[in-house]
């Protein structure tokens, strides 16, 4: 039950939206359980919670992107049913997704008015649109001509174009899902200024983030979600960071028994790995480091710092223009991804749904897939050894404590955390020499994270080299023997475990603005 710390005497008309027992289930996971949540009029309503806590699901239902499995949504005290985003927009609710929904090949103006164009005699009225777009942009202090191609704008500006689009629909409630995740400090400042402006104009904001400092700065009402439940709300003045963390993480405190593994010889070495962006600048800027057997390297960096590019380069999935990758002293250049896997590399990709799971295949087929891929192709017509497969999969299910009733069920019948364990297990099964994990705990619950941490520790102890990336500072600090901080494609800090220090890491991760 949500605790009733919020002041009961608050007049009802301060609440613009409210949910009653809102529940949303997916085949493998319950994203929200009976949530009663209030959105206060003309405030910045902040939602905070760990990955997978249900914040985004909540917002998707408030904006009509998805429909609840059960429960009701009230707006201005009346029940509403948002079958679609269009319906939600009629009621003045607009959402800006973390991944912006814009069209780079169209002009700013076309983007703002897409799907609700202004017409004059049956054709698009570009004059009115230009005029209105100009006004909207000026209101946001954005000095961009409406005819500019969206593709020519940076991420920060694009975010504001999304806001302009929402404003053009006369949004009264604006939902922003992690709006700052791709922004620089300066852009964040600007966004906050715009948010305050919107508030003055009477717009209610719902703001999702997991950056604490930001929330304390911009938020008025702070609500916390955990494991699909609403666990508490407070006014900003009454909330403390300690209270937020306590409620976010819950009773299951992150514990990880760190044991330093014995280091063996050097197994992976990067020398001046460099790749360029098509648009100029570096994707990877002379990245060099080496990994020993038994060592766990954590890579910390903000979104877009080059973590995924780094992994993809090591794996041969992305071409690089300079430098080299060596495994056990032998250069990997010229080897395909598959051959690199055979040399003893393994990879857990960041995006579980798109790159990790083979959703409609069985848990067993998913787990043994990589292993089956290491045989020469001509052997692929020999029958699979199902008995052996079952044994391997059973072992891995036990090791990672995956909750499955039957390994022949499709993998998407599992919860997100268990799916991720399957993806990880798939790579563990091939007993690699080096394993690269890109955000291995993204979107999974605390318990599942523990299991993943334990397993990573065990693998390192068995002499495997581990490189993982994470955007959770605590995770990087808890797990790593050494932390590399990546910012704008460059390693800006290389800190051994003994000297780990939050502030130093965060400072190193923020690209210096020119």
């Amino acid at each position: 039950m949500p605790d009733a710390t919020l002041d009961k005497g608050k007049a009802q008309d301060e609440v613009i939206m409210e949910t009653l027992d809102l529940t949303r289930v997916y085949p493998g996971i319950t994203a929200l359980k009976s949530v009663n949540y209030k959105v206060y009029r003309n405030k910045v309503n902040v939602l905070i919670g760990e990955n997978g806590a249900g914040k985004s699901t909540m917002m998707r239902m408030l904006a009509g992107v998805e429909r609840p499995s059960s429960g009701r949504i009230l707006m201005d005290g009346e029940e509403v049913s948002f079958e679609s985003t269009a319906k939600a927009e009629e009621h003045g609710v607009a959402i800006i997704f973390q991944e912006l929904n814009l069209f780079a090949n169209m002009s700013v103006m076309d983007n703002i008015f897409i799907a609700h164009e202004h017409f004059h005699k049956g054709v698009i009225d570009t004059k009115t649109e230009y005029q209105k777009a100009k006004e909207l942009l000026e209101n946001l202090d954005l000095k961009v001509d409406p005819h500019t191609m969206l593709g020519d704008l940076g991420v920060g500006h694009r975010q504001l174009i999304e806001i302009a689009r929402a404003m053009s629909k006369d949004a009264r409630v604006l939902i922003m899902d992690e709006p700052t995740s791709a922004l620089s400090q300066a852009e964040v400042r600007n966004l906050f200024r715009v948010i305050r402006q919107l508030k003055e104009k009477g717009v209610t904001i719902i703001y999702i983030s997991h950056r604490l400092e930001e929330l304390m700065e911009i938020g008025d009402e702070i609500s916390i979600f955990r494991d699909g439940m609403f666990v508490g709300a407070k006014h900003r003045q009454d909330a403390s960071i300690a209270w937020i963390i306590e409620n976010m993480v819950g009773a299951k405190k992150k514990q990880f028994d760190y044991h330093k593994a014995e280091y063996g010889e050097k197994v992976l070495e990067l020398k001046d790995l460099t790749s360029f962006k098509e648009t100029g600048g570096y994707q990877l800027d002379h990245v060099s480091f080496s990994l020993r057997r038994g060592e766990v390297i954590g890579i910390y960096g903000l979104l877009g710092a080059g973590r995924t590019e780094l992994f993809n380069s090591i794996l041969g999935l992305l071409e690089y223009q300079g430098g080299s990758v060596e495994m056990e002293g032998a250069a990997l250049e010229g080897l395909s991804y598959q051959l690199r896997l055979r040399r003893g590399l393994a990879f857990v990709p960041e995006d579980r749904q798109k790159e990790g799971v083979l959703a409609i295949m069985s848990i067993k087929a998913n787990m043994t897939m990589t292993q089956l891929c290491l045989i020469p192709f001509y052997q692929s017509l020999r029958p699979c050894n199902e008995h052996h497969e079952r044994e391997l999969v059973n072992g891995m299910i036990k090791d990672l404590s995956i909750k499955v009733s039957n390994m022949n069920l499709p993998v998407n019948s599992l919860s997100g955390g268990n799916q991720q364990k399957v993806v990880i297990g798939k790579q563990f099964l091939i007993k690699p020499k080096v394993i690269l994990l890109d955000e291995p705990t993204r979107g999974i619950d605390v318990g599942a994270k523990q299991d993943v941490y334990q397993q990573i520790g065990k693998l390192a102890a068995s002499g495997m080299g581990v490189v993982f990336s994470s955007s959770e500072l605590d995770e990087v600090m808890a797990l790593s023997d050494r932390v590399l901080v990546l910012a704008a494609g460059k390693i800006t800090a290389d800190i051994p475990r003994e000297e780990l220090d939050r502030e130093r890491i965060i400072r190193a991760s923020t690209p210096v603005k020119l």
């Binding site: 499995s69 059960s70 083979l358 897939m369 692929s380 017509l381 020999r382 699979c384």
Partner: protein, 350 residues
């Protein structure tokens, strides 16, 4: 309530089979000699034509691809067989004739080569399977017409002196009273079932159709697997070309026209998703039975050719609608039971 849904689900899963039963029963009543051993054997021999192509097509569709060139390969394969049997290969003054077995092997290899070309263009040049095989459909048909300048190769009986007699056996011969094409279909079905269910290659095929990106990162040899399925499809089509030429003892350049449509229809009827990753070879074979029995039954009833096409089309669309319905129902049942678990069965929104 859940029991009711489970029965629905079961019925929906067996829908292709139920459709086949319905077709057999319907025509059994309407047409006096529909259910006789000889008629069923003859119709099954027709099924073998569609079925063999559908096997290859199913493997291709499982990888989320499509092979539109199969009908043309049937025609071209038949024409090559006709050419080799009647005119042989000329080297200067010498003419070389092949035995029937050799001709069969050459044509099968040729079908595989067409598949290889499809596969290479699709995987290496990044051309969409639909477009690539559509192009190959035209090329194959044009080539089939070019082989003998638009004419047929009649009378493929061969000559005793050349040692190439007996071609008719392939299409019209029997073993244990059952036509050889039916045996070929059975063998190819078993091979395809073995591949899809038992081997790593089968896993690769499903993995690519399920999520190509994920499959690539899991290490699946995408290119080789795709080459395999297109080659397999080409070989299946070439076999059909041989069978048809053998049955008529004539190769006609327009043979196999529109066969790709029946094969895709059979796969869809059998529950193969055109989005890839979902479907079974056996389902496609049952689908082929439905399509062919339906067509033959209508012929026996005297339904006009035009109506036959309309009805065939409606059956295929209906099958896919039911398929979608099953998927949605399945998802709904899962969600309903999950919602009930979570809320204690209080309410559930539609």
């Amino acid at each position: 309530m859940n029991n009711k849904y489970q029965i629905y689900m079961l019925l929906l899963k067996a829908r292709t089979f139920i459709a086949l039963l319905a077709v057999v029963l319907f025509f059994g009543f309407m047409v006096s000699n529909f259910i006789t051993v000889s008629n069923l054997l003859i119709m099954t021999q027709h099924v073998a034509i569609t079925g063999l192509i559908a096997i290859g097509m199913t493997l291709v569709i499982l990888t989320a691809g499509i092979d539109l060139s199969v009908g043309s390969v049937v025609g071209l394969g038949g024409m090559i067989a006709g050419l080799l049997l009647t005119q042989g290969v000329t080297f200067g003054d010498h003419m070389l004739f092949f035995s029937v077995i050799e001709v069969i092997i050459i044509v099968m290899i040729f079908g595989g080569l067409v598949g290889l070309v499809n596969g290479v263009i699709i995987t290496k040049c990044g051309v969409a399977p639909f477009i690539c095989t559509l192009g190959m459909l035209y090329i194959g048909r044009g080539a089939a017409l070019l082989v003998n300048n638009g004419s047929t190769f009649p009378n493929l009986v061969g000559l005793e002196e050349l040692g190439n007699t007996g071609f008719a056996e392939l299409g019209s011969g029997t073993v244990l009273g059952i036509y050889i094409p039916i045996w070929i279909m059975v063998v190819m079905t078993l091979i395809a079932i073995y591949i899809t269910n038992k081997t790593p290659l089968g896993r690769y095929i499903y993995a690519i159709g399920s999520n190509e990106n994920g499959a690539r990162l899991a290490g699946v040899p995408i290119i080789k697997t795709k080459l395999f399925v297109y080659i397999f499809s080409g070989v299946c089509s070439a076999i059909v070309g041989l069978i048809l030429a053998s049955q008529l003892l004539t190769s006609h350049p327009m043979t196999g026209n529109m066969f790709e449509m029946d094969a895709i229809g059979a796969a869809a009827l059998g529950g193969t998703s055109l989005a890839g990753g979902r479907g079974k070879v056996l389902g496609s074979i049952i689908g082929a039975f439905v399509i062919v029995f339906l067509a033959d039954g209508m012929v026996m009833m005297g339904v006009s050719n035009f109506w036959q096409m309309v009805i065939k089309g409606m059956v295929i669309i209906a099958a896919v609608i039911i398929d979608q319905f099953q998927e949605r129902l399945q998802r709904k049942v899962v969600l309903m039971s999950r919602t009930a678990e979570v809320t204690g069965g209080k309410e559930s929104a539609a």
